[in-house]
């Protein structure tokens, strides 16, 4: 498999704070890779660098064999907060990246509408974000991310702000969506179950200054069933990850 995205030897310090020490990771085409690490270890910082909105002190970001270090606008980026525009209805919110690209309202709507059923937003096109539940807002934010760039998506704790029950529903939902779309995804989380449920591969990061502690392959059939956590592979992975995180 050829990598679609590679981060090589990324290093980043803030004044007073050494956040990332030499992280290298790679994302293959149509692969789902999770970056798992303790809070505050520099995961979001790493994503800003990969998305090109921050400069690393050292290292480079290669996308499809071209240098994209510090170049924004190639990959799409979703945040823990939905960051929907309160003044726009859901349809216009998800179309934002298309509008920014210069599409007319009609063209943009025409492109976005077919995706509404898959993202569970059918019938809510003309609601304002404040009228929707947290889960629906995150789905809208994900659709917006998807419409910006379908081939590579960075998801930074997309379900971190949701309650436990909604989070589980959303994780299953995302797993099913991944069957339907052809994207390569990098996901940040500190939820071990979420990582195992969704990923093909997992990078476990250390505390600050963050380094890749371990790289794990998830050898489980897709789609993963409701009782995936009873499988030996799941138990093996969870033990390995917890071991790695707590030492």
């Amino acid at each position: 498999m050829e990598p679609i995205l590679e981060a090589k030897n990324i290093k980043k310090s803030f004044p007073q704070l050494h956040t990332i020490e030499n992280i290298s990771l790679r994302l293959n085409r149509k692969e789902f890779v999770t970056v798992l690490g303790p809070s505050g270890c520099g995961k979001s910082t790493l994503f800003s660098i990969i998305a090109g909105i921050a400069q690393p002190d050292r290292g480079e970001v290669i996308i499809e064999n071209r240098d994209h270090t510090g170049v924004a606008g190639r990959v799409s980026f979703m945040h823990q907060k939905d960051l929907l525009l309160p003044w726009k209805r859901i349809l216009d919110n998800v179309c934002l990246p298309l509008f920014l690209r210069g599409l007319s309202t009609r063209e943009a709507h025409k492109q976005a509408k077919p995706h509404f059923p898959l993202f569970g937003l059918e019938g809510f096109e003309h609601y304002y974000p404040s009228q929707l539940s947290g889960g629906m807002r995150q789905r809208a934010a994900l659709l917006r991310t998807f419409l910006f760039s379908q081939d590579i998506m960075l998801l930074d704790e997309p379900f971190g702000g949701l309650d436990a029950l909604t989070r589980q529903t959303m994780q299953r939902w995302l797993m099913n969506v991944m069957e339907e779309i052809e994207s390569s995804v990098l996901l940040i989380t500190h939820d071990v179950d979420e990582a195992i449920l969704l990923s093909d591969r997992i990078y476990v990061l250390s505390h600050r200054p963050a380094q890749v502690r371990q790289e794990l392959k998830v050898n489980m059939e897709r789609p993963r069933g409701i009782n995936y956590f009873a499988e030996p592979e799941y138990i093996r992975l969870k033990e390995a990850i917890l071991e790695c995180l707590t030492h």
């Binding site: 800003s48 998305a51 090109g52 909105i53 924004a72 606008g73 799409s76 980026f77 945040h79 907060k81 960051l83 525009l85 309160p86 003044w87 726009k88 934002l96 990246p97 509008f99 920014l100 809510f124 609601y127 304002y128 404040s130 009228q131 929707l132 539940s133 889960g135 629906m136 910006f148 529903t169 409701i226």
Partner: protein
């Protein structure tokens, strides 16, 4: 429940107003204070009705000056705020002067304006502009500066141009703040025009007020004050209507309850 509470609060404050008017009326009726010092509300109302035509002639001019000045201030204030927000250098250079300019009392500028620009409509409009300009500029500037950092990062990640950042995020986000500035300015605008008219001229509520004061027609002075208050409220109401029209998303804030998802079986 909340609605009922609001109505209750309104009822209370209206009741207080009626009570104060009643006390005031009694002060006059029972000759506690003579009418030439404090005319009772009924006499003020009579004076207003009797001079309605004349009051309207003068009020028209004041209103015209206030609205004209307000609109010019809005245009200039918004342009300046946008420029200061866009260019950090301009902001660092000009901001201190902008703040300092507010320490100059308008009332001492008024006679100077008459000297420079005569007794026509121009100096009055300029005073209104000066009064209204500052709150509009500052409120828009603050609104633009307090936009969610992460939202701007997202716009950056989506490759938005400067213009697109303003068009989609900064300007709409700054609207509530801008409107609170517009409401303050709008309320001051009538007062600004009246102060401008005190320095001289032929028409306007300020001119008329001086005239009736010199003839000791206290009830008519109060009638003018009432008209000034009414005009100020009118301007405020108009801005509030524009505010609702400009920010429709704030009218739709009833959350929609998500249906319970079907259990997979």
């Amino acid at each position: 429940m909340k609605k009922w509470r609001n109505t209750g609060d309104r009822f209370l404050s209206a009741g207080l107003g009626v009570f104060i008017l009643f006390l005031w009326e009694m002060v006059g009726r029972l000759n506690i204070l003579p009418a030439y010092l404090l005319p009772p509300p009924s006499r003020i109302a009579t004076a207003m009705v009797r001079n309605a035509d004349l009051l309207w002639q003068h009020a028209r001019i004041t209103l015209l000056q206030a609205v004209l000045g307000f609109l010019i201030a809005m245009l200039l204030g918004c342009l300046l705020a946008l420029w200061l927000d866009y260019s950090p250098v301009a902001r660092k250079t000009l901001y201190p002067y902008l703040i300092t300019s507010q320490t100059v009392p308008i009332i001492v500028l008024a006679p100077l304006f008459a000297m420079w620009f005569g007794f026509g409509i121009l100096p009055k409009v300029l005073i209104v502009v000066l009064v209204c300009f500052f709150p509009i500029t500052i409120s828009l500037l603050e609104g633009l500066a307090t936009v969610d950092r992460e939202l701007m990062d997202l716009m950056h990640a989506m490759n938005a141009s400067s213009w697109q950042k303003y068009r989609w995020v900064k300007l709409p986000a700054a609207m509530p703040s801008l409107f609170s500035g517009l409401k303050i300015s709008g309320t001051y605008s009538i007062m600004g025009a009246v102060i401008g008219e005190w320095i001289g001229g032929r028409m306007g509520l300020g001119v008329y007020m001086l005239r009736v004061r010199q003839s000791f027609a206290t009830d008519q002075v109060f009638a003018v004050i009432t008209v000034i208050v009414m005009l100020s409220i009118l301007v405020l109401k108009l801005i509030q209507i524009a505010e609702k029209k400009a920010m429709p998303w704030l009218q739709h804030d009833q959350p929609y309850e998500e249906p319970v998802p079907h259990q997979e079986t």
